[in-house]
């Protein structure tokens, strides 16, 4: 079962590695997603700056035809008040020219004279008499000959501003000031050109305008952006005019904040760009994220082969460690059931089955003992069969069974058996037979020692090797004897079979050795005998042998 355990360990390790990989992959993927969005936002901020700068330039340039318009130059030079007749004409001219700007059309278009006083303005009510903008840096610079842009908070609104000087007859006679609201239209234009982020403008803690793309499911919403305004305004980088680090939007998006370029930056006017990202809530969510091409790219054949290989390894291990040992165990049990074996061959069983076998043996022993019998049939132990060779014997009888009824006069010297080497047979090793003193003939049958097959074979070998003839006839057989021994063996085997006794462990060589040993012992005790004859007979349902010396 070692392989099975190792296999289960391998499978558990593989499962843990797989789960860990999935969890790590989830974290890595989520972090990569966040990093990717942060990088996108960094580019968005750069792109926003470029767009706003180009937008400012476009508005400045759009003022060129207005600043060069003769009617406007005349009107500014004439210093007509905004509410006066000349101012009204100038206002109409401004309106007309403003309409031509189309996308760059100003929400407020103002003409100021050389002192910065408002001469006419389009897009809001007529200015109060004498009201001016001459000290506002953008206008002051325009009146000095500079064109430029800025962002103002004007009338409670935030405007992108642009201004150009009006030059007439070689002198600066005034300036044109262009104002466009920082509104959702600009936010939408920026979002579309940046590729779909949510864009908004803020003034302190208030969102002025915003645009969330409708074709981007899950795009951050303006309220989500507004929720981060407090944190953004506390950011030292924002206060220095830099962009903030990306801020988290409820775990599903990131947003960066930046102040606008211009005066209003000091008043905390800025813009914000946000993008959403998708994270994996669980490792298994990766299956929902996978696309068809991802599935197509899987090495299906390799995975299939790996699956098959793992299955085969598991099946092989199951066969080696479960099915085959079980089959062996079952076969042995079947043998017992069929009477072909008396007990399990524990040496051939795996450890678990061996323990079960030992338990079975104990159970059988207990049951048989309770029934007054013995589980063991006599073994093919020829020593027991033949008994000790009598020293002074005219004939001896041998039989199988619990008692040995042979009339052996002399018993062989006890033989010290080596300890059993089979692990399964250790428990069943009988004690060596006690030294047999020359008993009064006839000897009583002794209980068959409880030897397993290996021990029996070993003992037979030992006995065979020790059975050296002490006289000249020892250790050989004449052709006549040979034929006799074979006949006896044949009859003995046949009778055992008839008695239902096992014969598989009975070999002629061992049988012969034992017969010779007994023959030799008899001949030693009866030197006048010419030989020994063995007779097979049945005694108490078991095969037995008799040995009788032949007279000279």
């Amino acid at each position: 079962m070692l392989l099975s355990r190792v296999w289960f360990l391998v499978l558990a390790a593989a499962a843990i590695v797989g789960l860990s990989t999935a969890l790590l992959a989830r974290g890595v993927i989520n972090r990569e997603q966040v990093g990717f969005v942060d990088e996108q936002l960094r580019r968005d901020r750069f792109g926003s700056e470029m767009l706003l700068k180009l937008d400012a330039r476009a508005r400045i340039d759009a003022l060129s035809p207005i600043a060069a318009d003769s009617a406007i130059r005349e009107g500014v030079r004439g210093k007509h008040g905004d509410g006066q007749e000349g101012g009204k004409a100038l206002r109409e001219r401004l309106r007309s020219m403003n309409q031509q700007l189309e996308e760059l059309r100003a929400d407020i278009l103002i003409a100021v004279d050389a002192d910065g006083v408002i001469v006419a303005q389009e897009g809001r009510r007529a200015a109060r008499a004498g009201a001016g903008l001459g000290k506002v840096p953008l206008v002051a610079r325009a009146l000095s000959g500079f064109l430029g842009d800025d962002v103002w908070i004007y009338d409670g609104q935030v405007y992108r501003m642009a201004a150009r000087p009006i030059i007439d007859r070689g002198a600066y006679v005034g300036a044109i000031v262009h104002a466009q609201k920082l509104d959702a239209v600009l936010a939408q234009r920026m979002s579309e050109r940046l590729g779909g982020p949510t864009v908004g403008f803020f003034f302190r803690d208030k969102v002025l305008a915003s645009y969330a793309p409708t074709d981007k499911p899950g795009a951050p919403t303006p309220p989500e952006l507004a929720a981060q305004l407090t944190a953004a305004r506390a950011d030292e980088r924002l206060k220095r005019g830099e962009r903030t680090d990306p801020l988290e939007l409820a775990g599903r998006g990131r947003v960066v904040f930046s102040l606008v370029a211009g005066s209003a930056s000091t008043a905390e006017v800025g813009y914000m760009v946000a993008r959403s990202y998708t994270t994996l809530p669980t490792p298994f969510a990766i299956f929902d994220q996978a696309k068809k091409e991802d599935v197509d790219a899987l090495p299906k054949l390799t995975l299939g082969l790996a699956l098959l290989g793992l299955f085969l390894v598991a099946m092989g291990i199951m066969y080696l460690e479960r099915d085959r040992p079980l089959a062996i165990f079952r076969a042995q049990v079947d043998k017992i059931a069929e009477g072909k074996a008396e007990e399990l061959e524990l040496a051939h069983l795996i450890r678990q089955h061996r323990k079960i076998g030992e338990s079975i043996h104990k159970a059988i022993d207990t049951m048989v003992a309770q029934g007054g019998g013995s589980r063991h049939k006599p073994k093919a132990n020829l020593d027991e069969i033949l008994g000790p060779a009598p020293d002074n014997l005219t004939s001896s009888a041998f039989s199988f069974g619990g008692e040995q009824s042979s009339a052996v006069a002399t018993a062989p010297q006890p033989v010290a058996l080596p300890p059993p080497t089979s692990p399964g047979g250790a428990a069943r090793m009988p004690p060596p037979p006690a030294p047999a003193k020359p008993p009064p003939a006839p000897l009583k049958a002794q209980p068959a020692p409880n030897l397993d097959e290996k021990s029996v074979a070993l003992r037979l070998d030992t006995l065979g090797s020790l059975a050296k003839p002490s006289n000249g006839n020892a250790g050989y057989a004449t052709p006549d004897e040979e034929a006799h021994f074979r006949e006896v063996f044949s009859k003995f085997v046949k009778l055992r079979e008839q008695c239902g006794e096992a014969t598989s462990d009975l070999t002629y060589e061992r049988f012969l050795g034992t017969l010779q040993k007994h023959r030799d012992q008899i001949l030693q005790s009866r030197p006048e005998a010419r030989g020994v004859r063995f007779t097979v007979y049945e005694k108490e349902g078991r095969a037995a042998l008799k040995a009788a010396p032949r007279k000279a």
């Binding site: 706003l52 700068k53 400012a56 330039r57 400045i60 910065g116 006083v117 408002i118 200015a127 109060r128 004498g130 009201a131 001016g132 903008l133 001459g134 000290k135 506002v136 840096p137 953008l138 206008v139 610079r141 009146l143 000095s144 000959g145 500079f146 064109l147 430029g148 842009d149 800025d150 962002v151 103002w152 908070i153 004007y154 009338d155 409670g156 150009r164 000087p165 030059i167 070689g170 002198a171 600066y172 206060k239 220095r240 005019g241 102040l259 606008v260 370029a261 211009g262 005066s263 209003a264 930056s265 000091t266 008043a267």
Partner: protein, 236 residues
């Protein structure tokens, strides 16, 4: 007859002798005239902001106008004598900024700020109690009682370029702003001892002691703004 008064520590004895000669038996109110001048051409400033605008460039056709010191806006001349100024000090939000940007007010008096612009402002003074950011709509006037002496920065929450320096002093007789040429006049100055101070932003440019003793108008020597904040103690 106009007499000039030297300012500065070295001119004090001469001023004292001159003033003594001008004393007449009948003491009546006179005008005290003075002037400030700056020999340095102010540098053309761009838009001051945390983030500068994207574009600020010359138009390419005509040379830019040279800028000059805006005396009326930047400078305030103060006469300090026995009499106290009880009237409110009035300033204006005009042309998109505060006029003047150097404001001198006597402690305990009222500062009135009238918005003559076409758009609203939210003026405030950090650290000055009662001067929080409150909108002053076009055409309206905001009034603040000066209960704390010191030098403060007055700012606008909506228009960052709008800022001024507010000097709240213990005693003031008259406060005047120079004209575009730098000249200023303290009118109807009663005989007595005075100190003339000139402020520009946070700086007190000069402090000149003045003795008004007869009915003749007095002309002070021109005060150079570039000399820095020098306090003088002239004689009578």
């Amino acid at each position: 007859m106009n007499r000039s008064v030297q300012s500065g520590r070295s001119a004090a004895p001469a001023v004292g002798m001159l003033l003594a000669m001008l004393v007449t038996s009948a003491a009546t109110a006179v005008d005290v005239r003075g002037s400030v001048r700056s020999s340095e051409e102010p540098k053309s400033k761009g838009i001051e902001a945390i983030r500068a605008p994207y574009w600020q460039e010359w138009n390419g056709f005509i040379e830019p106008k040279k800028s000059s010191v805006d005396y009326p806006r930047e400078v305030s001349a103060v006469l300090i004598g026995a009499a106290e100024m009880r009237d409110a000090t009035s300033i204006a939000l005009r042309d998109g900024t505060l006029l003047p940007s150097t404001i001198v007010v006597q402690h305990g008096t009222t500062l009135r700020i009238r918005n003559e612009d076409d758009f609203g402002h939210e003026l405030y003074v950090p650290g000055l109690k009662g001067f929080d950011a409150v909108e002053t709509s076009p055409g309206s006037t905001r009034t603040i009682q000066m209960e704390q002496t010191g030098v403060f920065e007055l700012r606008d929450r909506l228009s960052p370029h709008v800022h001024a320096t507010l000097h709240v002093v213990a005693k003031v007789t008259q406060v005047v702003s120079p004209n575009a040429d730098g000249g200023f006049v303290f009118k109807d100055v009663a005989p007595g001892s005075y100190v003339v101070k000139v402020f520009r932003g946070r700086s007190e440019i000069t402090a000149t002691e003045l003795e008004v003793a007869n009915s003749k108008d007095i002309v002070l020597t021109a005060i150079a703004l570039d000399s820095g904040a020098v306090r003088s103690k002239p004689g009578k």
